[in-house]
Amino acid sequence: MKTLVKGARLLGGQAADLLIDGDRIVEVGSLSPDGDTGVVDADGLVALPGLVDLHVHLREPGREDAETVATGAEAAAAGGFTAILAMANTTPVTDTAEAANHVYDLGRATHLVDVQPVGAVTKALAGEELAELGLMARSRARVRVFSDDGHCVADARVMRRALEYVKAFGGVISQHAQDPRLAGPDACAHESELSGRLGLAGWPGIAEESIVARDVMLARHTGSRVHIAHVSTAGSVEVIRWAKAQGVEVTAEVTPHHLLLTHDLLSSYDPVWKVNPPLRPEEDVRALREGLADGTIDAVATDHAPHARHDKEHAFVDAAPGMLGLETALGVVSEVMVRGGLLDWAGVARVMSVNPARIARLDGHGQPLAAGSPANLTLVDPTATWTVDRDASHSLSRNNPWHGHTLTGRVVATFIRGACSARDGHALIPELVGGPL
């Protein structure tokens, strides 16, 4: 079956037609459909390579009441993603090849998005003994990204060994940078005058920055690749900028919420604003935007973290940390970075597709919109203004910090290997993926 996407502005530039045959883009130019070609009118839309999210939590196995691989995949497709990396902090933890294959297979069954498991760095995320990194890498799931996300690999020796070990198969350690001695389990608010007034235990920027600084030096020492998850402070941006200038193989991601929301929201004590690392002040938000614009930060990753209502409706310090993000990420990046004049659409393609695919070594994603590339693409209406409604979501959870926000820029359609996986915010049911448009 062939599909002709007509008149899309490729990466926001020149309008062109894309002919998709099977799972590939076969022709790009000024094209006319023949008899059996489905036509998608993409006039005024921006075409991007399918979005890739380095950081999501799908809660399956273990907490299928909060999210499943299937519902997370639906949210991802609706949000324009064609590949997502599922973090290892499930129950059981993804710390074996079997566990990785399980998540991978659940993902394949959705037909909506490629779900790539992230392997734990240490057994049970305990930070002590290395998980079976090599076996996960050799598994069917071909794990390349390893992270104890939710926990920092705090022990310098363990981190050093992990960085060295994954070199053998081109792996990368994605570090949740939080020195547990400087920001313990109760730390839940950016350490500042506000946290002092609110009586919430402070989570100082230095707890992140000191680990980032240590890990870029470890990466330099070991000649390994390190990735910093959810960078949240100006100080971390500064350290990463310096390390990149030294030639250290460091990459970094920032979440949409850290690009827009600030810590003053916490004065309501509403746990919807509780996230780890915490929301930061305006000056950090500014530095993160600049870092993303100048390439210091490589990628936007959602840290999509669904939680059941009853895990959020606690006192602030007791509530589960995390926010939804898959369905709103593109809208937030459009609002903050594109409309804010900091990135053009080619830049969005770089930080939401090309770079994350490269970091995760996902060869089928983040490819140019050119003949021969896999037909993974996302069509965006850059002028569509919409108001986020937490109840209009594919996620099983409702911890959506964007509820009521008006965003400009919206995903219109997502294609994975030539098959449409979502239209206008609705994921297709798996049986219909690849069916007639």
Binding site: L198, L200, P204, H310, A315
Partner: protein
Amino acid sequence: MNRHLLSSADLSRDDVETILATAESMHDVQKRDVKKIPTLRGRTIINLFFEDSTRTRSSFEIAGKWMSADTINITGKGSSTSKGESLRDTVRTIDAMAVDALVIRHHASGACQQVAQWVDASVINAGDGTHEHPTQALLDAYALRNRIGDLDGRHVAIVGDLTHSRVFRSNVITLGRLGAHVTVVAPPTLMPSGIADWSKTDGFAASWDLDEVLEGGGTHGPVDAVMMLRVQRERMSGGYFPTAREYTVTYGLTRERMRRLTAANPDVAILHPGPMNRGLEIAADVADSPNAVVLDQVSAGVAVRMAVLYHLLSGETGEAA
């Protein structure tokens, strides 16, 4: 006055004055042989204490009983997370029993503010984590005023573990409302983050030097009252200060400091919200000295809580008893 009392900031100076005036008449009730008044007959007050407390819980309970309300105590240690029930479910279950007021003590800052959004009952903050303890600040003001008179322009030093103190956070507001000058004193490790900007915005002074403040060499000059805060011994293992001995020498209200203090001002009032660590933050002699207001604070607790319940639940202002 608001339906809830969540933060000392909810009360204007007029509100504070009104509550303290009502507390005076409640205090008279307290001195009668028969202490019961019918003011809150038919009202139900639940004391919902998620964290241990002796004096606050019993004084709220007595306050309710003397005003003829039906008071029930529910205690549950630990977070509701551990019981598998969300805080929202816990409080909505209780609220569904058509109670009039929930007096809440919780280990988490902000819990009362959250609960107020979930229930129909009036919510009274009886101490939320390291955030606030508004009725404590009211009773401190009441006891202090009875001892040294009008607080306008008077200087109160608050000394101790400010970081973890809800008493400090509420007192700095209420004392400010009543026109007092406040200086807070602690080692840098026990000062809340951002205290420099915070104190500037809210018009109080902060110092690391107890002797300078007690000798009147600080921003606000000679002190009229000193409020010593409890320092938990666990703070030492947290590395907030090296030893109890060093803390006492540098920040304790020792006999020697008290001698110098009374030499300069024989009427200086010494407050402590309790429970006291005698010998750590306050010398035993000082705690028992005639300058100490500690037991007056406890006694004021009932009267002030009666006044708070009266104003929040009756929706009236003016004389009650």
